[in-house]
Amino acid sequence: MPTRVTIKDYLFESHLFMQRSVQALVFALVLITVLLGRLVYLQVLAHEHYTTLSDDNRIKILPLPPNRGLIFDRNGIILADNLPSYRLEVTPEQVHDMPATLDSLATIINIRDVDRERFEKLRARTPAFKPVPLRFRLSDEEVAHFAIDRHRYPGVDVVAGLSRHYPHGPLASHALGYVGRIDERDLQRIDVSNYSGTTHIGKVGIEKTYENTLHGTVGYRQVETNAEGRVLRTLVRTPPVPGENLYLTLDAELQNITEQTFGERTGAAIAIDPDNGEILAFVSKPTYDPNLFVNGIDSETYQALRDDDQQPLFNRALRGQYPPGSTLKPFVGLGGLEQGITSEHAHTFCPGYYQLPGKERKYRDWKRGGHGSVNLTSAIAQSCDVYFYDLALSMGIDRLHEFLAKFGFGTRTGIDISGELPGLLPSRQWKRAVRGQPWFPGETLITGIGQGFMLTTPIQLASATATLSTYGRRMRPHIVASTQKYDDPELSPIVNEPVLSVPIEDRHHWDVVINAMHEVVHGKRGTARKIGRHAGYEIAGKTGTAQVFGLKEEEKYEAEKLAEKLRDHSLFIAFAPVDTPKIAVAIIVENGGSGSAVAAPIARTILDAYLKKGDTP
């Protein structure tokens, strides 16, 4: 290499290189300035915007569902409580391959086809970012198995919660009702935001009627979540307000005895405190286990319940409408006295049948040979039909309707359990409006013995009996005595005012009827004299045998020949003690036969259980 040339080049190249280096650095400086400008924009000018986005990213508001209020009986026995339970939830958005995930989950957790079906249904109508429950009530083993494999299932979570539980199973199920998953119909009648964390809602019974009281107010927590949506920590917490507890008027022990006594029969029994309208026992048979409904009943079980001939889901106490039969007679008799149509001592001769003037048709008495000469007292005690045919005819349907309506026949009692039906107290107007026909006198006759068009519900009959026992002081039947806030040991009683009491013309008239009812149980010829023996207290009652099936004039009723469904209903109403009534009952045994044979003994057991509770150690 020639030295001279090298040195010359060296100086020139050194200068060139220096120049180019400076240019390169300027280039770098310009780009770094652009970068800094970008950073100033992001971190200073748009800082607020990105802070908001960052918080939106990480902060989510989660509802905290309130604990549902508990339900106790009048003595503090718990009838509905909440048990800790774990459910499995899947957030569809975070699951890449749903069928594979479900299949895989099924290897560690028992997932039935029913669960999958329900899950798919729910999923179809839930936004993908919201978790959908797959299984309820996981066992401890299942929770443990899942915990081990949790990392394999992004978007799948075990969620702890409280689940409604009815510790006594079917006991008082028709009164309590049950909760079930919130469905489309529920969504329309609730404040959706207050239910944002709640999965269940009262469907029937007290659970439904007192839904607002039991539910409470939802709370919220602001949580920080990671990109997968897993909650990392809570930032702010607004605690929920738990629902209020309910204390019922129901006596669980009496309820249990009543249900036991009722046995396998079909029907209803109501026990009520005449003083204040408190429901002491509320039985509709058959019953069902409300726990089945809490976490979704499977379709087979549901169909079995629904298609059961006995209709266990049917609330007979509120919705069963039965002809009152002879249990109506004391009310009709009282009406005759109070309206001045008959008197205590007026006699009617009973030949075993009755004929309208100028008509051939014979209206039969249940006793073929007739009762002979009867007055009001013996007519009630022996349940003479002819006496009441005659009385009803004298009163006429208008006055009959007017008087019976005062006891609440034909209208809802207003009990605080939803779904009650009104029964039917027929009148001229009703017949013209509904049937488009005039009222016939023969229909007045059979209304007088509680047959024909007339229908009552067991709760109505019990309420009317209670009203009779208290000389017309009519209380609205109610089953919730008081509520209790979660943080307050004090109970807040629900005040129950009398409704439209029956006006008294002459108190003595009431004495006569009550005495006649006393004769039913304690009189020599009383239809329910069997249950009056060795009672130790005085009972006033009335038997009833309601025809389901109209017999022809000359046909003799033979229970054995009739299909069970066509047999007479057996009814009994009673209150005791006669002087100071503490309990009134109404019992209807469907197709049970005669009132004296079936319904009356059940009443005696209930009365004994309630009135002699303190007697035996």
Binding site: S21, L25, A28, L39, Q43, A227
Partner: protein, 374 residues
């Protein structure tokens, strides 16, 4: 060259520890400061994964070791071996395309049995060395015909790497070669022509791009179009940086990073973690260190005594800059997503060793000078 080596005595007063160890104190300490800052950010982004931080420490040690080792090699020795290094690298790149391991849908790795090796990493150094070697042979600025050959030396490996496909690395290698040409005095007219040519070639390039690469460009142009898909990275990193503000959310308190909203937070997107936790202030500190390193490297290059060292040193300094600007530009949404780490900060091994080897070359250039008597 022999003149410079033989006719001048070494200055005894300069024979301090830097000369003995062939290290440059200013560069060394700023690199240590940089890696220390990097470890702090990595510790946070790793979110308690201490193994990851530990592995990074080991890699840093290896990288610093490699730097110190390379610094011992005389530039003349490197120059002598340059053509060989380049040729072997090119052959390996061809080998990778034929028998390389496929990882993440890209053929980058060559399994040599005892070690998995990325020939493209080697080319990050070999290409600027080769171009510098070729150009330093004759007087500068280079003639058009020599430029053509130099261009071919650059384009061959760039294309081979781009079809692996590894756009980030080929971009880096291309710019490393380009900076040698630029520093060698590439005329501005020719440079303008190249830019026009590049603009015209963009549609052709588009045609040859893989779908995911096209997607990256589309995403860059409009990240909100697909916020949960390809645009997610950019949106989340902008949120991280923007929400950091002036002074950041504090070390270990970055919600974007710690709550896993930010993807690739320990590797390519670690700059966003720094921005979120230390704010504009923290980024300023980082950019200051980077700038100091670049300036120091360019200074070293200008002080070099032969053309090969100068061109190579300057190119290495500017390549380091390209690394930084491409990564930060990507993370802040200024540039499309190109898989390049943030030098010395991002978690990852091979590229860091290459990078530090480059600094080793610069230290070698600086400490093997023969000073002229004053």
């Amino acid at each position: 060259m022999s003149l410079l080596l033989d006719s001048h005595r070494e200055d005894a007063s300069r024979r301090d520890w830097q000369s003995i160890l062939h290290l440059d104190a200013l560069l060394l300490f700023s690199l240590i400061a940089l890696s220390t800052l990097g470890l702090f950010v990595l510790y946070s982004s790793a979110g308690g994964d201490n193994q990851l931080v530990l592995r990074q420490c080991i890699r840093l040690s290896i990288a610093f070791g490699a730097m110190a080792l390379i610094a011992q090699l005389r530039p003349q020795w490197l120059q002598r071996w340059t053509p060989w290094l380049y040729s072997i690298g090119l052959l390996l790149l061809i080998a990778v395309l034929m028998v390389g391991d496929v990882s993440k849908d890209a053929q980058r790795w060559l399994d040599l049995g005892f070690v998995r090796f990325q020939p493209s990493e080697m080319m990050k150094l070999a290409v600027p060395m080769m171009v510098a070697w070729y150009l330093s042979d004759k007087r500068l600025p280079p003639s058009p015909s020599r430029l053509m050959i130099a261009g071919a030396l650059i384009v061959a490996p760039v294309v081979l790497i781009a079809i692996q496909p590894d756009l980030g690395t080929s971009l880096l290698i291309g710019s490393a070669g380009f900076f040698v040409l630029f520093l060698a005095g590439l005329s501005w007219r020719l440079l303008g022509g190249l830019i026009v040519l590049a603009a015209a070639g963009a549609p052709i390039l588009w045609h040859f791009m893989h779908d995911y690469q096209r997607q990256r460009v589309i995403t860059f142009l409009n990240p909100e179009q697909d916020p949960l898909g390809a645009g997610y990275h950019i949106i989340q990193s902008k949120i991280a940086i923007g929400s950091g503000g002036l002074f950041g959310k504090g070390w270990l308190n970055g919600t974007q990073a710690h709550l896993e909203f930010l993807p690739e937070r320990s590797t390519d997107f670690i700059f966003a973690v720094l921005g979120e936790e230390f704010g504009l202030f923290g980024i300023g500190v980082l950019l200051l260190i980077y700038s100091f390193i670049i300036i120091r490297c360019v200074y070293i290059a200008t002080q070099a005594q032969d053309t090969y060292s100068r061109l190579l040193g300057g190119s290495l300094a500017m390549t380091f800059f390209i690394y930084i600007i491409v990564n930060t530009g990507m993370v802040t949404g200024l540039l499309p997503v190109v898989g390049l780490p943030l030098p010395m900060i991002s978690y990852g091994g091979t590229s860091m060793v290459t990078l530090m080897a480059g600094f080793g070359i610069l230290m070698s250039i600086h400490t093997h000078r023969k000073l002229l008597p004053t």
